[in-house]
């Protein structure tokens, strides 16, 4: 899933300064799971803003709603007509969701309410770890299901650097060295020879930005 974190309250509040009517639009998929931009967080932000503006003696109308998925056109079409009269829409979705909103609601003013950070997983409640950089050529099958592109701070493909120290990474003593993890995992799998393989430089062409893909069935439409 995509992991994001809520922008600081003051940053959002400052950006709303000249508005009279603001809509906060949440997304109930990834950003809801990582507790940054789902229904709950939208409600919280909306009431914080209302209270804060009221305290300042400012009369700003704040309305809110949350859609199933802001990065999907079908879901967005259900809400678009309701946004027309607002001075600004705060999108609590990831960067992709914010952009679909901006495309579909042009020329409505929009503001991202979260900072989109990474593709991650939840090793334990309330913690998210980056585990994939969407490199476009997955080699997890060779590395025991641990991604060197992401988990190794230098994205090394051919074994540990000299900074590895008792299983920790030179960048941060609290961070595991990806290559020590991979070594131990492959040892358990009986696949240590994988480390001896020669991994060529990554092909960045497959990741050329902005990437695009069209499903077979939809090609030629």
């Amino acid at each position: 899933m995509i992991v994001a974190e809520r922008k600081p309250f003051d940053e959002i509040k400052t950006a709303l300064a000249g508005c009279r009517k603001v809509f906060i639009l949440g997304c109930d998929t990834c950003v809801s799971v990582c507790m940054a931009g789902g229904k709950k967080e939208v409600g919280l932000l909306a009431s914080q803003l209302r209270m804060s503006f009221k305290k300042d003696g400012k009369d700003i109308q704040i309305d809110e709603d949350t859609v199933e998925r802001q990065c999907n056109r079908e879901y967005m079409e259900l809400v678009l007509s309701r946004l027309q009269d607002y001075d600004l829409v705060v999108s609590m979705a990831c960067g992709a969701g914010v952009q679909l909103l901006a495309d579909l609601s042009e020329p409505l003013q929009i503001l991202p309410g979260v900072n989109t950070r990474f593709i991650g997983m939840t090793p334990q409640d309330g913690t998210w770890e980056e585990r994939c950089r969407a490199c476009g050529n997955c080699i997890l099958g060779e590395t025991g299901g641990i991604c060197p592109v992401t988990v190794c701070a230098k994205g090394i493909l051919n074994g540990p650097c000299g900074g590895t120290d008792h299983g920790k990474c030179e960048v941060d003593k609290d961070k595991d060295c990806a290559w020590t993890l991979i070594y131990h995992r492959l040892e358990k799998m009986g696949k240590l020879d994988n480390i001896r393989k020669d991994f060529p430089p990554r092909n960045h062409l497959v990741q050329c930005h902005p990437a695009k893909q069209v499903h077979e069935v939809y090609k030629g439409e």
């Binding site: 701070a153 230098k154 994205g155 090394i156 493909l157 051919n158 074994g159 540990p160 650097c161 000299g162 900074g163 590895t164 120290d165 008792h166 299983g167 030179e170 960048v171 290559w179 020590t180 991979i182 070594y183 240590l192 480390i195 001896r196 020669d198 060529p200 430089p201 990554r202 960045h204």
Partner: protein, 294 residues
């Protein structure tokens, strides 16, 4: 005339290299004084490449100056700050300047340095830079395009003989040998018994190993390295030996220890040579060599 580093490696002589760091800024007087002090006392001088991710004068220009002053340069190249185009371009440039020895490194992480917010490149890692050196020598670039004029290098790499766990480190060492490394400069070694075990393994390969010698300047530095520098272990007896030095005599003690280690490595044939890293204390390298009887 200076002998090429490749010839030194082939000669079977006990090889001695040292390290010079380029300045942060355009004043190269201190660097030049280090070069002129050391160039005739060692077989070659490494020029560091934005060492510890701290921005400095380029290693390429530093090597050119060593060359101009009549020394033998070893060009350190990391993949941290340059992508494959820039690295290959610098290799061509080095060759044109007559620099023919390169040490291929992944590079310290950018967050350890003085531009923490910069973009770490890491397009090529140490092994892939080694291979790039070999590909260029075959007359094409990494894109498969023919070169007009082909650079030839003596290529080296690094290894950490006291890494923990050691197995993945050794696997990578072997890959570097396959990729064409002709010599290795090791991370600092202090425990010669552990190092001998590494050498018993490394001897199976047709490469030259230069043991890394870091000059200890105080007991505190030794303790600090034990706690904070990956792959460096200063045994307790050396830490106490440093601590036992009389006031103001710690540096002298460090020189003595480094000299003693080099002498032992040479006399017992433990390694093919040494690489001396006297970080910030380049001026005492001749004293270390003297203490070593070299």
């Amino acid at each position: 005339m200076a002998v090429s580093f490749k010839d030194v490696l082939r000669s079977g002589e006990f090889v001695v290299t040292a390290e010079v760091g380029p300045p942060k800024g355009t004043d190269i007087s201190e660097m030049k004084s280090h070069i002129s002090l050391l160039k005739d006392k060692v077989h070659a001088l490494n020029m560091t490449d934005n060492q510890s991710s701290v921005m400095r004068l380029s290693s390429l220009v530093g090597c050119h100056i060593i060359k101009e002053m009549g020394g033998v340069p070893i060009l350190q190249m990391t993949g941290r700050d340059r992508n494959r185009l820039a690295l290959q371009s610098d290799l061509l440039s080095a060759s044109v300047l007559g620099i023919d020895t390169v040490l291929c490194l992944t590079g310290d992480h950018i967050t350890l340095g003085d531009h923490k917010e910069a973009k770490p490149v890491h397009d090529l890692e140490s092994l892939q830079i080694l291979k790039a050196v070999r590909v260029l020598a075959s007359g094409v670039d990494l894109g498969g395009n023919p070169l007009k004029g082909t650079p030839q290098f003596c290529a080296g790499a690094v290894v950490t003989p006291e890494a923990d766990p050691i197995e993945p480190q050794l696997m990578k060492f072997e890959k570097k040998v396959w990729a064409g490394a002709e010599f290795f400069q090791t991370q600092a070694v202090f425990d010669l018994e552990t190092f001998k075990r590494f050498m018993a393994y490394a001897e199976k390969f047709d490469v030259k190993i230069l043991a890394g010698i870091v000059l200890l300047t105080s007991a505190r530095m030794a303790t600090y390295m034990n706690q904070h520098v990956a792959g460096i272990y200063v045994p307790d007896n050396l830490v106490s030996e440093m601590a036992s030095a009389p006031k103001g005599g710690a540096l002298q003690k460090g020189i003595e220890i480094a000299g003693r280690m080099i002498r032992k490595i040479k006399e017992e044939g433990i390694a093919h040579g040494v690489h001396i890293m006297a970080i910030g204390k380049e001026t005492v390298v001749p004293d270390i060599l003297q203490a070593a009887g070299l």
